[in-house]
């Protein structure tokens, strides 16, 4: 049984995807780091906001 925080798994997922996208899209290492950081924040921020927006709705 693997017990893990859903939030931190989401952050980890966002981080991996952002790093690969940033390295694919940018050539300069500094730009890669900046893009990866921004993308991670965007992934997590959007997911967090969407999570709260969906909170009142039952499935």
């Amino acid at each position: 049984m693997t017990t893990t925080s859903h939030f931190w798994l989401m952050v980890l997922y966002a981080l991996f995807v952002s790093v690969v996208f940033a390295v694919l899209m940018r050539d300069d290492p500094r730009e890669q780091v900046r893009s990866a950081g921004l993308m991670t924040l965007a992934f997590v921020g959007v997911a967090y906001v969407l999570g709260w927006l969906m909170y009142p709705f039952p499935l």
Binding site: M1, T2, T3, T4, H6, L9, L12, Y13, F16, V17, V19, V20, V23, L24, M25, R26, D27, D28, P29, E31
Partner: protein
């Protein structure tokens, strides 16, 4: 670098079918190997670490490696995505890993990590293919994406 070039003028050294096939097969088998082969060491190393690590985390989270099942299209697509990661997938199958524990709370996360690792490797393979075709020179993609890379030759 600032002058325009046509398709005929672009470097074609890596466009031989044999080399293209080698780059694509290696890039599939070992994530990042296509870039390492073409002297894109830094990018290759990032892919070599990030993609197999993501796949391993997917296995650790009790994700399932889906079978190629034609009767269920979603499972079939998941199976294609899983196989995109190459050698780590083959090793996991040899070790009988990836059976998946549906009752585990991280099961869906595991599946997502496993499939995304494979899909990201497909993108990495395409990138390695583009480099081998001479479609990518350092700087031109950053510029297209709004970055501050060096001025690139016209594409297509």
């Amino acid at each position: 670098m600032g002058s325009k070039s046509t398709a005929a003028e672009r470097p074609r050294a890596g466009a031989e079918p044999g080399r293209l096939a080698l780059v694509c097969i290696l890039a599939w088998l070992i994530p990042g190997a296509g870039h390492l082969l073409q002297k894109r060491r830094d990018k290759g190393l990032v892919f070599l670490v990030a993609i197999p690590l993501m796949f391993a985390i997917g296995l650790w989270l009790s994700g399932r490696l889906f079978p190629l099942e034609w009767s269920d299209p979603l499972v079939f697509l998941g199976a294609i995505a899983d196989r995109g990661v190459g050698l780590p997938y083959l090793i996991a199958r040899l070790m009988d890993a990836g059976a998946g524990t549906v009752t585990d709370q991280s099961y869906e996360y595991g599946n997502t990590f496993l499939m995304t690792a494979g899909l990201l490797n497909f993108l990495v393979i395409l990138d390695a293919f583009d480099i081998a075709m001479g479609r990518k020179t350092p700087g031109n993609l950053s510029e297209r994406a709004g970055g501050t890379g060096a001025k690139a030759p016209a594409q297509r």
